[in-house]
Symmetry: C2
Subunit: 451 residues, 2 copies
Amino acid sequence: MVRFLLDDLEGYVGKAADFLRKAKVPIWSRILIVFNDGTKLEGMLLPAPRDTDEYIYVKLNNGYNIAFSVNKIREIVFIAKEEVKYKIPERELLHKPTLPNILLIGAGGTIASRVEYTTGAVKPAFSPTELANSIPEIFSIANITTITLFNIFSEDMQPKYWIEMAKRVAKELRSGYTGVVITHGTDTMQFSAAALSFMLNNLPVPVVFTGAQRSSDRPASDAASNVINSVLFAAHGEVAEVLVCMHANLDDTSALVHRGVRVRKMHSSRRDAFRTIGDHPVAYIRDGKIRYLKKDYQRRGLYSHSDVYADATFEEKVALLYVFPGINPEIIDFLIDKKYRGIIIAGTGLGHVPETLLRPIQRGVEEGILFFMATQCLWGPVNLNVYERGRVLRKLGVIPADGMLPEVAYVKLGWLLGHDYTKEQVITLMQTNLRYEIVKKEPLNAFFSNL
Amino acid sequence: MVRFLLDDLEGYVGKAADFLRKAKVPIWSRILIVFNDGTKLEGMLLPAPRDTDEYIYVKLNNGYNIAFSVNKIREIVFIAKEEVKYKIPERELLHKPTLPNILLIGAGGTIASRVEYTTGAVKPAFSPTELANSIPEIFSIANITTITLFNIFSEDMQPKYWIEMAKRVAKELRSGYTGVVITHGTDTMQFSAAALSFMLNNLPVPVVFTGAQRSSDRPASDAASNVINSVLFAAHGEVAEVLVCMHANLDDTSALVHRGVRVRKMHSSRRDAFRTIGDHPVAYIRDGKIRYLKKDYQRRGLYSHSDVYADATFEEKVALLYVFPGINPEIIDFLIDKKYRGIIIAGTGLGHVPETLLRPIQRGVEEGILFFMATQCLWGPVNLNVYERGRVLRKLGVIPADGMLPEVAYVKLGWLLGHDYTKEQVITLMQTNLRYEIVKKEPLNAFFSNL
């Protein structure tokens, strides 16, 4: 099968391509589909998600993307090439006084991106208002106010943006929103969610991160379902914490609500990539109904909207270091020379490192650097008392970051060192459960399982 | 409750301690237990695994460790303090001509360790012969020949030891063993198993790594069950690859057999910590019966014992780098300055890095360093064609290590660069499936699941 040029019939081959070529319909055209039974439907031709010779992909006027088999189509009629390739109107959002008010903050990522059809690459493009308008279901759940904060891909997320995000959320929350939804790239969502968990104090309502594994203008995007469930939880959920709400499995009927400090992206492409590690997720949503999986959480309404404030600061001289056999001990010397103030080691097993790292760790401790030990196993405790190496590390001054994910320990340490705390205060706070980030006793049935 | 001195009644408190104190029985003593019903049992008093006031822990003469409730004990009689605190005789191993011959290689780790009772720390101590003699069941499965190769903890495992191990296995296999079992620390077992997978060519029989999460002299050690199942698979398993055989779940009745190139320690302490990532394990063993979960594998007997050889070499100037928001780009400059030849980046999502890393990566590529991209999600593909950042990375010269775990990509690259290959050959071989290390299409039901 010959594949057409990207800017011609991207992804379409064989019979489907023949159909479109015959009708002289390039992608991003407005088209009229005449089905075998005579019914007609208008929409916009989308690029195909993969080489396909049977289906054509169409965005309907209501915003939905649907695939139609060419076997059921009699004719495709070209109406017009869209002026702007793909544009949902920035129309004003309606306000219904009986509905809760939800703030939708756009922080970039795939969910706010579109396929650039000249190159096939995915680029950030949607505004939150466009995104909201493309998912009409949410307007029956809540009044939506939108703000564009960033328009970046999540791999470029930086600690300084976490600070900006936390300050903005705290400021906006004083206006009395029922909940906040932040659309964010999935690559680093767990880091941002952890950062906001620590930076936001006295949250009166849920702050829900969500995103998409497939851009919103593509057929079969997971964006709509994730935004709907996130708005639902922001509006009605009882957990006033920073959360991540994404698909529970491969279909679009359910979602899991994870703690920002316990979640990790565990799959590079599946829509159910986000999983709570070492604990149960906070809640499960199915067909619009919320079921709580945890009992201990900060409840909505414990604080009032005037209580919330951002304690947003970050020390960038903090590193996260995964160890492995053959690791060069001079990497730690390098961080010492660069005046790093804290290092999270993702050690092996209960929290071990090769003997070769002991000398530079000792030097680092002597020069005042704080070393905390997490485990690269991701699940299970850190315990520096069981094995000889653990005891030696402990004696050198390495402190167990027991019960915390390595990435979360990194964010927490950067946040703590951004303050004017003494070393002892930082150590104490690292080992204090501030936001349910520390799981001391994993539920037996939470290993490799989320439901 | 007062806790006794470590060298007195380690771990025993309350009623249990009273019993032992009254009988003047320190731990590591030979004792006679008289039960309430008059029956008697001889054994050695072990330290208690945690503070306990009800149970005493005893190693029976057959090697088993058992806990007895003091409520069922009438009296404990001190017989003698053991000369050597804990010693299973290095007695000669019997040979039965009808049984298969299995080579048991000791490479250190918890499975070969004991509790040092003066400090409470766990130290390597058992010889493989002691270990074998402590698990009498294996002598009904196979004739066991033992070799001590290393006596180190696995966090100190280094590439040079992988080379030694591979050469020794290849050499010994020429004698015609039915299979090989290597006892190894669990912390870095996945790295050693991956290294031997690549270094051993034309394997005629299974090479099975196993270990323990709890030292062999402790009550409730998982060592016996793991060694029995590993010997069973080495003797009768049909998969002539380098494998890891460990507990399938929390009880002692079943085990999973994982590919050395697809397995990861995913829990710091549970006995079922080892999980195959992105694929099904190779086999499941329950009550001595092997069930195969994969169909594609290298079969026993495809090669003869004279075919096997070790291609054992490793370039130590290779690094594995997990990225995170806020990572210092100069870490890559540091590796370039240190004349590194290859870097595996564990990127976010489909394989992304912050924009700040592009400059040093470009410099590295210009200076001849090979960059490969894996994903820190652990599950799912690497794809540098979907997003703009991926395309930029690709254009810079970063090569996707698609379908490989980051740790396995690291071991494979170090192994390949140890050869006199051209860069193009290394790139081609990195993307060639040599040992089933590359999973191009994950089974849908293999995400967060092993059974």
